[in-house]
Every structure is written in C-alpha cells, then in structure tokens.
C-alpha cells in the first residue's frame, strides 16, 4: 500500500479551514494515523469543515480516531461541520458517536510517587496481618464445625477420612522412609567425622538419636508432607472452586468445611505422628548403617548405646509436635484452596503460597516448642 492510500487527514489546498480525511481508516492503519494526528497540532483558529468523502474504508478504530479528532477540534473552541459522510459509513459513525456521548473511559490509574515503596511496604504489612487474621478466623470456623461433628459422629464421613489417610499416610511411606534414611546417613557421617577427632566417636549414636527423635525426624516429615499433601489439598479444593463445585455443594446443603476440610485435617493429624515414628526409625537405621561402615560399630553396640542415649521422653518430645504441624499444614492447605478465585492462574498461585506458608508456620511452631521445652526444662 502506498503512502497515498495510507489513511490520514490533511488541510485541503484551498485553505486551512477545510480538513480532508482520506484513505484507509482501519485498525491496521490506526497506529500510523494516530502518530500523524499527533504531529498535526497547532492549526489556525477558526471554524472548520471536515470532509470525509475521501475515506475508502472505515472501521470502528478509524471511526474512533475520527471522532477523537473532531472532539479535539471542538474542544479548541471551533465550530466543526462534517461533510461528505458516505451512507455506508454513517451507522458506524453514529454508533461511535452514541458510545462517545456515554463516555468510554480508558486506562487505569497507577500510583507512582517517590514514596511508592513505602506505600507498598505498608500495604504488604497490612495484607499480611489481614491474612493472619483470616487464617485465625478460618481456624475458629473449623473448630466449631469439628466440635459439631464430634457431637454427631455420623457426620464424620469415615469413607473420606479413610481415603485421605491412605493418600496422605500410606502412600507417603516410601518417600518419607527413603529420604529419612538418607538424611540419617548424612548426619551420622558428619557427626562421626567430627567426633572422631576427639576420640568420642561412640557419641555419634547419642547425637544422632537425640537430634533425630527430638527435632529432625518430625520437622523433616512435616516439610515433606507440606510439599506433598498440603499442596495437593490446595490444588484439589482450588480446582473445585474454579469449577464452582464448592458453590454447588452449598446449594445442596453440604458444608464444604465439613465435607472437605475436616476429613483432611483429621487424616493428617492421625497420619503425621505415625509418619514421624516411621521417619525416626528410618533415620536412625540410616545412621546405624553409616556408623557400622565408618566406625566399625556392631549392631549390638549401637543398640545399647542408643538405649543409653535416648528414652521415651525424647521420642515423645518429637512426637507431640507432629499433630500440631499436621494441623497447620492441613489448615493452610485447605484455606488457600478455598481462597482460589475462578481463574486457572490462581490455583497455581495459591498452591505455591500454601507450601511456603505452611513450612514457614511449621518452623515457627518448632521454634515455639523449643522455647516452651526449655522453659519447662524438658
């Protein structure tokens, strides 16, 4: 297409009071037309007539640009007469004119100032606080529903519970066992390496047994389950949110918290302690294998040393944290799932958030337990 047919507007030869639009006023040309119009500032004042008879093709984008031009000229205080409108173009121009009268508003305002970062910081802080408040609120809601369920155990939905126990517990055994075993190997290697320098290598067993039963076993399991089951909770519930299944439940008189959240929370609170014991055993087993290889410790010697090092109390100190972690993971997972909005993107975002948030809260809880136990002298 030549420059000639590229649509634009120009003063007619016989005087500046006459504008002539011509060529292709279409969306494909509208970028060029707009740039041309922007260059056409500073026309002499006075009334004008605009001739449209030279327009070969007109579409909505072109009609909009024409309209903007004429509105701009009028805003400069001129009387504008429009001539030469083709019959074929008239309905389109009328539509744009009518819509323009209703005032289409384009663009959104974005705040950018020198202190935008400060505003962002404050907003982020308040969002976080608000988020915490809502999570607490959700905790209250689940507690109420849970108590109600206890009063009427028929509502416990044993089938959903058993399914969730299988998915979150039984199916997680291999991966939890394997990773714990490997961590046990690594820990035993590091400890024996250091302790050998003092000739205290046999205390590798004490250190290993204590750290795994009290801290590492339970924390490791919680983190793995947050990544494995917490994320699954969010994705499952979130997808149901997208497909409006949660809303459908409401209209059928089902309580989503009772149907979806309670079985998941209960299942995880039951399985995480068991998984923790499993993880403790696997971790110590890994450590035992490593000490046997690295320190030539016999299994009998390992066992007697372990018996000396840890007692039931140590195991319980670790184990008592498991249901709390489980509660945090399941609650955050379900809560983030229910916060999903009806977009595909939002499922992914909330799932990521759910894992990050639950691991964060699990570690905070671990620290709180540490303080509590040290105050109690356990």
């Amino acid at each position: 297409m030549t420059e000639e047919s590229a649509g634009w507007v120009e003063p007619a030869p016989d005087g500046a009071a006459f504008l002539r639009a011509r060529g292709q006023w279409t969306i494909a040309r509208s970028g060029a037309i707009e740039r041309h119009l922007a260059r056409m500032d500073g026309m002499p004042p006075g009334d004008m007539s605009v001739d449209l008879s030279g327009i070969a093709r007109l579409d909505t984008a072109g009609a909009w640009l024409l309209f903007r031009l004429i509105a701009r000229l009028r805003a400069e205080g001129r009387q504008i007469e429009v001539t030469g409108v083709r019959d074929a173009h008239r309905p389109l121009i009328e539509i744009v004119a009518r819509i323009h009268a209703d005032g289409p508003k384009g663009g959104h305002t974005e705040r950018v100032g020198p202190f935008a970062w400060l505003e962002g910081l404050g907003r982020g802080l308040f969002d976080a606080l608000d988020h915490g408040k809502q999570l607490l609120n959700f905790h209250g809601m689940v507690t109420i529903v849970f108590l109600r369920t206890l009063l009427d155990p028929r509502r416990l939905r044993p089938k959903a519970l058993v399914t969730q126990i299988e998915i979150t517990g039984l199916n997680a055994l291999p991966i939890v066992g394997l990773l714990s075993f490997l961590i046990g190997v690594v820990l035993a290697y590091l400890m024996s390496d250091q302790l050998t320098q003092f000739g205290a290598e046999v205390y590798t067993v004490n250190l290993l047994g204590l750290s795994i039963t009290r801290e590492i076993g339970v924390l490791l399991t919680a983190i793995m389950i947050a990544g494995r089951s917490g994320s699954a909770f969010t994705a499952q519930i979130g997808t149901m949110k997208v497909t409006e299944e949660i809303d459908a439940m409401g209209t059928l008189g089902l309580d989503p918290i009772e149907v979806l959240v309670i079985p998941r929370v209960l299942a995880l609170m039951l399985t995480l302690p068991i998984l923790t014991i499993w993880s403790d055993v696997a971790g110590i087993l890994g450590g035992a294998v490593m000490t046997m290889v690295a320190l030539d410790l016999t299994p009998a010697r390992f066992l007697s040393q372990l018996k000396e090092a840890i007692d039931l109390g140590d195991v319980l100190v670790g184990l008592v944290k498991a249901p709390v972690h489980a509660y945090i993971i399941a609650m955050v997972g379900c809560y983030e799932g229910l916060r999903v909005r009806r977009t595909a993107e939002s499922v992914g975002r909330q799932t990521t958030l759910s894992v990050v948030e639950s691991i964060f809260l699990v570690i905070v809880a671990t620290a709180a337990f540490a303080i509590l136990f040290s105050v109690l002298g356990i």
């Binding site: 279409t26 969306i27 494909a28 509208s30 970028g31 707009e34 093709r57 007109l58 579409d59 909505t60 984008a61 009609a63 909009w64 640009l65 903007r68 074929a88 173009h89 008239r90 309905p91 389109l92 009328e94 539509i95 744009v96 819509i99 209703d102 005032g103 289409p104 508003k105 384009g106 663009g107 959104h108 909005r341 009806r342 977009t343 595909a344 993107e345 939002s346």
Partner: protein, 272 residues
Amino acid sequence: MAVHDAPAAPIRAADGDGMTDPVIRIEGLRTQFGAQVIHDDLDLDVYRGEVLGVVGGSGSGKSVLLREIVGLQRPTAGRIDLLGQDVWAIGARGRRALNTRAGVLFQDGALFSSLTVAENIQVGMREHLDLAPRLMDELAALKIAMVGLPPDAGEKLPSELSGGMRKRAGLARALALDPEIVFLDEPTAGLDPIGAARFDELIASLQGSLGLTVFMVTHDLDSLATVCDRIAALVDKQVRVATMAEHMKDDHPWLKEYFHGPRARAIGGAGA
C-alpha cells in the same frame, strides 16, 4: 433487512467489490469421528457482506464446521477456502495470519481467565499491531460499550462477570481487530432480549460500514428473521442454504418442525 423474498443468492456486496465473491468456499467436506460421520460431501459458499445463519439439531456438527473453517480442527476430507486461501494447505503460520482477519466468538466465551476484559480485548492488538497504550485502552472501552457492557466491565476479570456478560466480552474480543469476517457460535444464547436486539443492530451496522461477513450459528429465531440474509440448515450431513421464506416452504421433516414449531409460529406474525 427482514426476510428476503428473492431467491437464495449473494445478497449484498460492499462498495461494489463484486457480487460473486465468496469469502468462504467449502467443497466436498467430510468429517468423521471414528465410525460417526458428521459431514458428508458438504458444499457451502458464503459471500462477502452477508450474514449467514447456521441452524441444525444438537450434535449435527455446527460447531465442528465452524472450527474447521477457522483452522482449529482438520476435516477428514474436502477443501475449505477462507478469504481466498486454502485453510488446510497454508500451514500453521499462514493460518495464524489469516486468523487476524477473522474473529471468533466461542460457544462459552473462552476468555482468558487471568486477564481483565479489557486485556482480553487487547491481546490481538498487542500481538499484531503497534498501538499506543492509550489508544488500545480507548479501543477496548469502545468495544466494551459496543457490545453493551457497562464501562467498568473492562477492569473486571471474566470470573467476576455473569454468563451473559462473558459472552458479550467474548464478542468484544472477537471484534477487537475489526475483522472482515466474524464467526459466532450461538452468540445471543444467554443474552437478555434487549441485549440480543442490540447485538443484532450492531452486526447490521458493522456490516454496512465494513462489508463484514458474519457466520453465525444460532437458534435465536429473532436473529434469523431480522439479521440473517440466508440460512444454512445442517440436515442429513449436508447444508441447505436458502432464505427463511424458502426454508419455510421446505418439506424436509426437521426443517418443517424447526420453522413451523411453536416458537417459530410465535414470531412468525412479526418476522415473516
């Protein structure tokens, strides 16, 4: 623009572009899913500047036909020319270029769920044109108003709209690049009667200015009577193209039932 009594033929042409200028030409089309034959030796010409209504029973292959023309689904056999190009011979890139000249409104909107309505409308502009952001915002607002959505709809996500509004937003997106031809799959389903009438009016005026061609799958007998120049009925795996008046004289049992059913009779007094 009401029912034409003239024989089925190219009705309108834009600015003397020639009367027999098919923008869609389908020859010997066959579509088969396993043993199920949907279209068999189907021929259809759609002319520049006409509004073609496509009707047919549920599952008769209207949506599939539309998808084959716009290059989303490959037919089993046959040839489809869209705007002078063989859709299934020009490759994926050629089809993408061709698609900037055709707009599609899918049956349930198919808006991008993570973009606002305005951003949905601007997707094609961003991809294919070099426009100032302000102009794109204005054009998006214009399309939003054109399809009868309130001005604040532009900033909303599709999930925040009702079903009918999503459909209008989908229409606005289909019209975003001012295409030469638009494909509409049941566009007025889910619109209130005023919205549907306004849509019909919009189609008529766009067509007047641009020589816009409309391929519209619809069950809205009002639309069929008021805006469609010709009606293609998908019966017996083929199409029968005629004006509404001619279809009403047809003896085919499905056509008879369709055009003489209670709903047709209800508007018959006003439309025919």
